[in-house]
Subunit: 444 residues, 2 copies
């Protein structure tokens, strides 16, 4: 009388059984018997048991494998809890080696025609079709392997509501979700964000959207590179689960007008050259955050001012999760990776490395004892001026390392040097930055 | 090998058993036996069974009640699934009358010292302390009722992160969450929002925060009423689960600067009189949305322009869930309820009802065939002008009913008349609005 009494219909489910420790056949029989005695489970059919070679894990003995078909009113997580309890009863230790020898393995292979993607449980298993030790007993129990749902990876989603629903389902399934917002034209810098996200999170969603709000009318919105197939291949390689790639119309309806107004972090530097840029970035990122509600969102340190602006908006608007800034990834010669590097003709591309030389110059002088901000900036500017293919220097600024606040007067302490300069015709703006007080590697 | 193999420690849990249909004692014994045979459950002790009178539900026979203490590795939802399966095995029908006679009831009374608040399961049950049919067997099994965690209702939360965590836990537990953002000084209008939220949702969170961002320097921020104890009592009466009442410092850190920039919905009317008001409202609502992530948020139609602005921001920024606009609640004489009505001296309070008369006047003329917007507005203005205690009329405008877009030239169709007028000294601004084309009741 204390809980909801909604009753559930029985669902057909298939469990895989395996044992390679102890009396293997007795272990499998024990599993069947315990399942049959569990409330909410009726065992309908048991396959023959067959011997199979182990797949993965340390060197170990052959498995005895089989499968059972059950009708159950238990939900998949409840079923999983029962499976684990039976494994323990069969003597399996909680702290046994991962994928090592075990008395009993019970795996939920199929649950009706449901696809389940939670932290604890993925059904059908992504590699089920490749595993004869599970497939053969399933066939014997009447499952046609061709009917097992396939899983697209990454899953490409165009519709914002569908993206939100998918992210929500992952979170409800206990997954930590990492978000990697991009404008596509993915390179090793983006890949490094995805790898970090994979290390931190259970699932990674990448977004590919060239956001018109952050381009001024004269900027390169139309010619911005959009190599979608290559981008998707990179996402697949990096184990991204979801790629959200909406159209402009899907993201911004016809009466769209709201903006995130940003503050002092957006003043100066890029903000001076590109007046509405950061408001456009903050707006799209806020929207992506609303849709995905990530546990972590990943941004490159290369766009240092963007990172500072987004950290402020994230904190002010209490967006969920955390923002993670990731190190700059560089080409072999040290140039910071950027989707816009492809705009450069070969000679300009070679010349552009002067930006890195300028950063190194300022750092070398700082490490040699120079603490005067103006002289450090002048040294960097001098290096840039020595490269005739550098068509313009938009700014060279020393700022506080993380929030990029202007430095107080007097000898400087920890600081970041930020450079924007133009190369080629039409001119391509390149950004770079580095701490002057830390001996970070400036080439790979 | 397909799932995570994290093993769980056994937890002590207490289940209540009840039966008032069929062989009651056999049903309770059946439950104990089935529990004992369930993987992941060890039955440690069974209380005596005793007869109790039914509590709630239709007229029905007496219950036989008892309790069992188990050690279990099953999670509470898995345990619940097993309980339901055993109830079904005992013959209980899925479609039996709610709280009617049943062969078997198994209720999770205590699960270790956990407090659980999900859609399906609340542990300990909020009324467990009042239920001797559950308490007496628990006592027999060694539970001291004084140690059962008490539940504060509503729970008052001051810290934004704590509020977010609570809302998140409710959502993860499958609860639909309703949000009622308020500035406190709650009245029957707010109560009507809470009741609507209760009807739509599993849990309701109300926020009480006098938001400085939406007050101009000359406005009534300091004197805005803050009767917190009365507000809390109203929330308790309306079954609100969470009250979020942060300080200004907790909501807005010292470097807080971000704002939601709003669009054409904020132009004119209140936007003309209070230039930054709607940006301030949109900003705090976006923050509350980030924290609570409600399924539904409730706002009164009285602040029609606020509702239109928030609908736009909600849609543009893809805030989760939906915004629900709720009808205006009125005093006995028809005056729209407002927290600011308390500012009025009795004679001004009586005079203020002229706003309702003006709305009625315009509607009567529309329903009599008048379709000229200027003449409808003039008729309403004339009524207001007839009341000497009306110190100023800020605006009288006819707009589109929902998004409040200006009406096209020519004979009008469906429309909403919006009025802002001032009464008393210092002047109190009162807002009201009504459809002119629909015969809504303008007094309760």
């Amino acid at each position: 009388m204390l809980e909801s009494k909604q009753m559930t219909r029985a669902v057909l489910a298939w469990l895989g059984l395996g044992s390679n420790l102890g009396d293997r056949e007795a272990n499998l029989r024990f599993a069947c018997e315990r399942l049959a005695r569990t409330p909410g489970i009726a065992v309908e059919a048991v396959s023959t048991f067959r011997e199979t070679a182990p797949v993965g894990g340390p060197p170990q003995g052959a498995f005895l494998n089989g499968a059972v078909r059950i009708a159950t009113t238990l939900s998949p997580p409840a079923l999983l809890a029962v499976q684990k309890a039976i494994e323990r009863e069969a003597g399996r230790r909680a702290d046994g080696p991962h994928h090592g020898p075990r008395e009993l393995d019970i795996d939920l292979l199929l649950y009706g025609d449901a696809t389940i993607d939670t932290r604890e449980l993925v059904v059908p298993h992504p590699r089920l079709r490749e595993r004869s030790f599970a497939l053969d007993p399933l066939r014997e129990l009447g499952v046609d392997p061709g009917t097992i749902p396939r899983r697209e990876s990454p899953r490409v989603i165009r519709d914002p509501a569908e993206f939100a629903a998918h992210c929500d389902a992952l979170r409800r399934g206990g997954c930590r979700l990492g978000l990697v917002p991009t404008m596509g034209a993915l390179h090793e810098g983006h890949a490094s964000l995805m790898r970090r996200a994979r290390a931190d999170c259970d699932r990674v969603a990448a977004t590919i959207f060239v956001n018109p709000l952050q381009f001024a009318p004269h900027e390169d919105l139309a010619r911005y590179p959009r190599p979608f197939a290559a981008d998707l291949a990179l996402c697949a390689r990096e184990g991204v689960a979801l790629v959200f790639a909406p159209s402009v119309e899907a993201m911004y309806g016809k009466d769209f007008i709201s903006r995130i107004a940003v503050g002092r972090e957006a003043v100066g530097m890029e903000g001076a050259v590109r007046p509405d840029h950061f408001s456009g970035v903050a707006t799209v990122v806020t929207i992506l955050w609303s849709l995905a509600r990530p546990d972590f969102g990943y941004f490159g340190q290369k766009d240092a001012q963007q990172l500072a602006v987004l950290r402020r908006v994230h904190q002010d608007l209490r967006l969920c999760g955390a923002i993670v800034g990731c190190p700059i990834v560089r080409e072999a010669d040290g140039l910071a990776m950027s989707s816009r590097n492809v705009y450069l003709q070969p000679e300009d591309r070679r010349a552009a490395v002067v930006i890195v030389a300028a950063l190194r110059e300022a750092r070398a002088r700082f490490l040699a004892g120079e603490r005067d901000a103006e002289r450090l900036v002048a040294a960097a500017r001098e290096r840039l001026a020595g490269e005739p293919r550098c068509r313009a220097v938009d700014y060279v600024e020393l700022r506080a390392p993380d929030d990029l606040a202007p430095l107080p007067k007097g000898p400087i302490g920890p600081a970041r040097l930020l450079i924007a300069a133009r190369f080629g015709d039409p001119a391509t703006r390149l950004l770079d930055n580095a701490r002057v007080d830390v001996d970070e590697v400036l080439a790979p």
